[in-house]
């Protein structure tokens, strides 16, 4: 079971603001879903699946790619061909 303050902490970790009005609904839906997830406790102990996997590697060589202009075309703000981000601290 989680309570409203747990959901608030999770929302903070996920960088999503949830209004006080929505918190109650989110919390009860969360508990309903988590209760359903408890069925996983019935899973017999076993291996996690990693069947016959093979890494796909390639040489690190430069190939044709997006131009700087194309790559930054969707950014909100750019400066000298770079993306400008808001201050973090």
């Amino acid at each position: 079971m989680v309570n409203e303050s747990d959901v608030e902490i999770i929302a903070k970790l996920a960088d999503i603001s949830i209004s006080k009005d929505e918190l109650g609904a989110f919390t009860s839906q969360f508990n309903e879903i988590l209760e359903y997830f408890d069925i996983l406790d019935q899973v017999p102990p076993g291996e996690e699946g990693m069947p016959d996997l093979e890494n796909v590697l390639r040489e690190d060589v430069v190939t044709p790619s997006l131009s700087q202009e194309e790559a930054t075309a969707n950014a909100g703000e750019t400066e000298d061909g770079f993306i400008r981000a808001p201050k973090v601290m």
Binding site: V2, S17, S19, L40, N74, P86
Partner: protein, 434 residues
């Protein structure tokens, strides 16, 4: 450029998010020359907005084409528009769209299924001949079943996902929808094959002519596909369809897939965990509407994601964040991966002695708009489609009649890389009932 393709722009079902007035296509004698193809709006199209039906990608115009879009263009297809969907593919009804719900062409009071509901509705209403969707836990097969069209989720790794805006990488595949098995087969032959830009693809191109001969075919019929929660009228329709295949010389073998008990929980833990990581990239810096830079980044970013992501997307990001958090990882994510491996082994075991598995695609007919307001009850509708994604095997949905005048889908699931086989069985059934 000749406008020889068929595209009726009267979009009565809100199937499209954006359309092109005149789709350009190459007159090159390709297999899709001049054929109108719709593309789900989570597949990147250079120069054409791609929104994932989310306000967080408002105004985003991809600078490159997804690999499947490049292949469509090379085949001469006319890409006429981008179809509506549940935001980022998260939903079973296409109601979770920032552009409003798509309605079901068979009954506009009902949902088309999801999340590729726009693609299915565009095909079902005759607006286009074929469409691309993506299937993370049933998102091609569910709307195909609800709208009465054909849809294939290919084997994991058979179709490149380069340019598909990721939601849950270990589960999702791009695949074809069409009115007939032949159309789906044709579109599959265009999009399948290896791609150096998607390291999960295999060198398994698809070049196949459907063969309707099912004499001696061994069809496994798992009891779980006809169990609790499945509408008995839907079960009866699908049993009839299987009997039709028996009439054509196939034999049926009853079986059990015990891991189905926890498959749905394993699916939702896995996909929400992957979503919480994938959707962290939507921070308003590199694409999408700009984040104002007045307060600190985290404050701005939180408000922005709170306002621009829909509720279901927020719910899944939060669930995934929780499932991966310290102290809960072992209880949820680790167990889900063991459960997933058990599902995969169950499918391999059953398909060792049989050729395909058959059952309903969905446990019910299409819901009424607004009927599934509770998230968990919506999730439960995916119970029969998610196992194929967890196991990575191919699965097709083909119409097999109606219940209350609404279409029902027969689902045929095959072993890894037997996309051709599930196509053959669907074709045999379609030809017999046509």
């Amino acid at each position: 450029m000749e406008g020889g393709y068929i595209f009726d722009e009267k979009d009565r079902h809100n199937a499209f998010i954006s359309t092109l007035d005149l789709a350009l296509f190459e007159t090159n004698g390709g297999p899709l020359e001049g054929i109108a193809v719709a593309v789900k709006d989570n597949i990147s199209t250079a120069g054409m907005p791609t929104t994932c039906a989310s306000r967080i990608l408002e105004g985003y115009v991809p600078p490159y084409d997804a690999h499947v879009v490049t292949l469509l263009r090379q085949a001469g297809a006319a890409i006429v528009g981008k179809t509506n969907m549940d935001e980022f593919g998260m939903g079973t009804t296409t109601e979770n769209s920032a552009f409003g719900p798509t309605t079901n062409p068979v009954d506009p009071g009902r949902v088309p299924g999801g999340s590729s509901g726009g693609s299915a509705a565009a095909v079902a209403s005759g607006m286009v001949d074929m469409a691309l969707g993506s299937d993370t836990g049933g998102s091609i097969r569910c709307p195909a079943a609800f709208c009465g069209v054909v849809g294939l989720k290919p084997t994991f790794g058979r179709v490149s996902r380069y340019g598909l805006i990721a939601y849950s990488n270990s589960l999702e595949q791009i695949g074809p929808l069409g009115k007939t098995v032949t159309d789906v087969n044709t579109l599959m032959s265009v999009i399948a094959g290896p791609d150096a830009r998607d390291s999960t693809t295999y060198d398994r191109p698809y070049d196949h002519t459907p063969d309707p001969d099912v004499k001696g075919l061994r069809i496994a019929v798992p009891e779980e596909f006809f169990g609790e929660g499945v509408d008995p009228a839907v079960s009866a329709k699908v049993q009839n369809a299987i009997a039709t295949l028996e009439g054509l010389g196939a034999e049926t073998i009853e079986c059990s897939i015990p891991s189905m008990t926890y498959a749905l929980a394993a699916y939702y833990v896995t996909c929400t965990s992957e979503a919480s990581s994938n959707l962290a990239r939507f921070d308003g810096v590199r694409y999408g509407p700009e984040v104002p830079a007045v307060r600190s980044w985290h404050d701005e970013f939180k408000t922005y994601r709170g306002e621009r992501f829909g509720k279901e997307v927020q719910r899944r990001i939060l669930l995934g964040t929780f499932a991966l958090s310290a102290g809960y990882y072992g209880k949820y994510y680790a167990k889900a991966q063991v459960a997933r491996e058990n599902v995969r082994r169950d499918f391999i075991r059953v398909l060792k002695d049989t050729d395909v598995i058959a059952g309903p695609t969905m446990p019910s007919i299409a819901f009424h708009l607004g009927e599934k307001s509770d998230p968990l009850s919506m999730y439960l509708a995916d119970i029969l489609t998610v196992p194929a994604n967890l196991a990575g095997v191919p699965a097709i949905s083909v119409p097999c009649g109606t219940v209350d005048r609404m279409p029902v889908g027969l689902q045929i699931i095959g072993p890894h890389f037997a996309d051709e086989k599930v196509m053959d069985v669907a074709y045999a059934f379609e030809q017999e009932v046509a």
